[in-house]
C-alpha cells in the first residue's frame, strides 16, 4: 500500500537514495553551467559522461585505485571538452549540432572500447561509503550517534554516502563563489552577457570560453565516473541513458545559478528516488504501469520548465559565436 512509503525507514531510504542520485547531475550540470554562463552550450555532456565513466571504470579495475580512475575521467573529459571548445570557439560551429556530434562520438567510442577491452559487464570496487573509513578511525562514533533521535537519522543518511557524493555537493558553493566573488567569475559572466564589451575591456573571450567548456567537459567526465566507480560500480553500453541530457536541462531549470541547479538536481533526484522505492516496495500501481512512474521526473521537468522559463533570463550571448567586429 501507498502508506508503506511513509514509514521512517522508507523515508530515510528515499532521502539516502535521493541525495545520492543527485551526484552525477550536480557534477555535469555545474560544469555545463560554467560553459553556458560564458556563452557556449555543450549538448555533448552525455557522450563525455560515457567516456569518463568508461575511463574511470577501466583504470580503477586495472590499478585498483578509484582515485586514479577519477583522474582518468578528468583527463578524458577535459580532452573532449577541449575538442568542443575548439569546434565551437575557434571554428565557431553551431553549438547544438556540434554537441550532438560529440554525443554520438562518445556513445559509439565508449561502446567500442567496452566491447574491445572488457567484453562483459563486470563490477569494480570503487569508492566506499564514508562509514567504512569512519568506523575504522573512530569505531565508536557512528554507533554512538545512531541512538540520538534526529541526528542519528541524519548521520545514518550521510554515512552511507561515498566521498564523491560529498564532493558533488561541495562543488555548488565553490561554483557560487567563483561565479560571483572572483574576477574569473566576472569574466565568465561578461563573456556570456556582452562579449564585445568584455573584449573591449581586455577579457579574452576565446580563452575564457575555452576554460569554461574544458572545465565543463572535465566535470562531465567526473559525473560519468561517479556512476561507474561510486554509485553503480559497473560499466555497460549507454549506461547514462539520457542522464547527460537531463543535466543540460537542469542548467536551464536552475536559471543558470548554482543554487538553482542544486535545487533542480535534488528535486529531480528525490522524485526519482520515490518512484524507485515505490517499485522496490512492490506497491501496486493502477494498471501495473510502472513505466508511468519512470516518466514522472521527466514530466515534472517539463512542467517546471513551463512555469520557470518565462522568469529565467539566460545569458544573452548563449549559443552565439563571438568574432571581433562581427
Amino acid at each position: 500500500m501507498i502508506s508503506e512509503l511513509f514509514t521512517t525507514a522508507v523515508l530515510i531510504g528515499i532521502l539516502t537514495s535521493g541525495i545520492r542520485l543527485a551526484t552525477p547531475y550536480l557534477f555535469a550540470s555545474i560544469g555545463e553551467m560554467f560553459g553556458q554562463r560564458s556563452g557556449i552550450y555543450n549538448l555533448g555532456v552525455e557522450g563525455i559522461m560515457l567516456m569518463g565513466a568508461f575511463a574511470a571504470f577501466y583504470v580503477t579495475m586495472t590499478y585498483g585505485n578509484p582515485w586514479l580512475g577519477l583522474l582518468a575521467a578528468i583527463i578524458v573529459g577535459s580532452i573532449m571538452g577541449l575538442a568542443m571548445s575548439f569546434i565551437s570557439v575557434t571554428l565557431q560551429a553551431e553549438q547544438g549540432i556540434s554537441g550532438i556530434g560529440i554525443y554520438l562520438f562518445g556513445l559509439g567510442m565508449s561502446d567500442l572500447l567496452f566491447q574491445k577491452m572488457l567484453g562483459t559487464v563486470e563490477t569494480v570496487s570503487g569508492f566506499r561509503p564514508v562509514s567504512d573509513s569512519l568506523n575504522r578511525i573512530f569505531p565508536d562514533l557512528l554507533p554512538g550517534l545512531a541512538g540520538i533521535p534526529v541526528i542519528g537519522a541524519i548521520v545514518s543518511i550521510l554515512a552511507q554516502q561515498n566521498i564523491m557524493v560529498f564532493m558533488a555537493y561541495l562543488l555548488v558553493p565553490i561554483a557560487w563563489f567563483i561565479m560571483y566573488r572572483t574576477t574569473l567569475g566576472l569574466k565568465i559572466r561578461a563573456a556570456g552577457e556582452n562579449p564585445a564589451a568584455a573584449d573591449a575591456l581586455g577579457v579574452s573571450i576565446s580563452r575564457t570560453r575555452y576554460a569554461t567548456v574544458t572545465f565543463g567537459g572535465a566535470m562531465a567526465g567526473v559525473a560519468g565516473a561517479s556512476l561507474s566507480i561510486a554509485l553503480l560500480n559497473v560499466f555497460q553500453q549507454n549506461m547514462t541513458s539520457g542522464l547527460g541530457f537531463i543535466a543540460v536541462a537542469l542548467v536551464y531549470f536552475g536559471g543558470w545559478r548554482p543554487y538553482g541547479v542544486l535545487f533542480g538536481a535534488i528535486l529531480f533526484s528525490m522524485v526519482n528516488a520515490i518512484q524507485l522505492w515505490i517499485q522496490a516496495l512492490n506497491i501496486p500501481i493502477p494498471g501495473d504501469a510502472s513505466e508511468l512512474l519512470i516518466m514522472m521526473p521527466y514530466v515534472l521537468t517539463i512542467i517546471v520548465l513551463i512555469f520557470s522559463a518565462g522568469r529565467m533570463r539566460k545569458p544573452s550571448a548563449l549559443g552565439v559565436p563571438y568574432e571581433r567586429g562581427g
Binding site: 552550450y41 549538448l43 557522450g47 575538442a83 569546434i87 571554428l91 565557431q92 560551429a93 553551431e94 553549438q95 547544438g96 549540432i97 556540434s98 550532438i100 556530434g101 560529440i102 554525443y103 554520438l104 562520438f105 562518445g106 556513445l107 559509439g108 567510442m109 561502446d111 567500442l112 566491447q115 574491445k116 553500453q237 549507454n238 541513458s241 539520457g242 541530457f245 537531463i246 543540460v248 536541462a249 536551464y252 494498471g287 501495473d288 504501469a289 510502472s290 513505466e291 508511468l292 519512470i294 516518466m295 521527466y298 514530466v299 521537468t301 517539463i302 520548465l305 513551463i306 522559463a309 518565462g310 539566460k314 548563449l318 549559443g319 552565439v320 559565436p321 562581427g326
Partner: protein, 388 residues
Amino acid sequence: MLDFFVKYPRLSRLVDLALPLLATLAALGVGAIMLQLLGANPVDAYGALLNGAFGSQNALADTIVRATPLLLVALGICIAFRGGVINIGGEGQLVAGAILGTLVGLTFPEAPGYIVIPVALVAGFIGGAIWGGIPGVLKAYYNVNEILSTIMLNIIAVQGMNYLLRQPMIDPAQAQLASRIPQTARLVQAFDLPRLVPTRLHLGALIAVILAFVVYIYLWRTTSGYRIRAVGLNPDASSYAGINVKRNIVLALLLSGAFAGLAGAIQVYGVHHRMFTDGSLAGFTGSAGFNGIVVALFGKLNPLGAIPASFIFGALIVGANSLQRAMQVPAALITALNGLVVVFVVASDYFSRRLARSRQIGVEANVEPSPPASMPPALSVEGDMSSD
C-alpha cells in the same frame, strides 16, 4: 590559398559543395587510424563495409531499406532547422508515429490493405505531428527550450511504448506465455507494404524519395514554406513583416515530428510488421531519429541533398554490420564515426564562411562578412522568442 579561390570564384563554390564529402573523408581517415589500433587492416575493413552495403542485390536493397527512415526523419529535420528550431526529438516522434500507425492495423484486421495501409501511414504522420507539436507549443507560447523538451519527450515516449507493448497492446499469444515478450501481434500479411523487387526493398523507399521532392517544393515554392524559412532566418524581421512567428515555430516542429512519425509507421508496415521493444529507444528505432539529424546536416539542410546523404548513411549502417561479422570490429565504431562526421561537417562551415568572405573581398573591398550558407542564422540565436 584563399587568393587562388578569389581568382576562381566558381571553383570555390565547388569546394563549398564538396566540403561535406571532404569532412566525411576526414572522418573515415580517423576511422582508419582507429581500425588500425583495433588490429584490423583499414583497407580490408572498409572493403568489407562496402561489400556489405553494395556487394549484392540484397545488400543494396538493405542499404535502401535502412536509408528510408533516415531520409524521412531528415526531411523533418530540414523543415525544423530551416525554421530555426532544433528538433532532437526524432526518436520519440518516430515511436509515437509507429504506435498510432500500428494501432490502425491492429484495430481493423479485416479491412482491405489498400485502405488500412494509407490510413495507417497518415496515422503515423499524425502521431509524429502530435509528439513534435507539443515542444512546438511549449517553445512558442511558454518559452520552453525545444532541445530540452524534445529530449524529455523522447524518454517519455520510450516509457510509453514500453508500457503499451507490455500491457494493452501486447500480442495476445505472448500474453498467454510466461515470457510475455513485449511486442504486438504481427500485423495481417495483407497490410505489408508492397515489395518493389524480390528483396526486402519496399514501397516506403519510393514514398520517401517522392516526399523529398514535395518538401523541397514546399520549402522553396510555397508561401507557407517561405514563412518557415523567413522565421528561421530572422524572427524579428519576419514578425515585423507580419508573419506570425509563434505559429510558424509550432508548424515547423509539428511537420518535423510528422515526418519522423511517418518513418515510424513505414518501419512497422514495411520492415518489422509489428512493434517490439528491448526497453530502449534505439532497440526499436535503430537510432534513426538521431542519425536523421546527421543525414539532414550532411545534405546541407536541403531535402534533395538528404536523398544521397541518407543513402550514404544507410550504407554505413548496413556495412558496419557486415564489418562486425567479417572482422570482429564492433558496429559501434560507425556510431563514433557518425559523431565525427557531424563534428567535421559542422566545423567545415567555418571554411565555407571564410571562402564566402574571400569571395566578397575579391568582388568589393570591406564588405560585411556574410552568414554561413548552409545554416540559418537564427539557429545560433538559440531559444527565446519572447520578443514576439
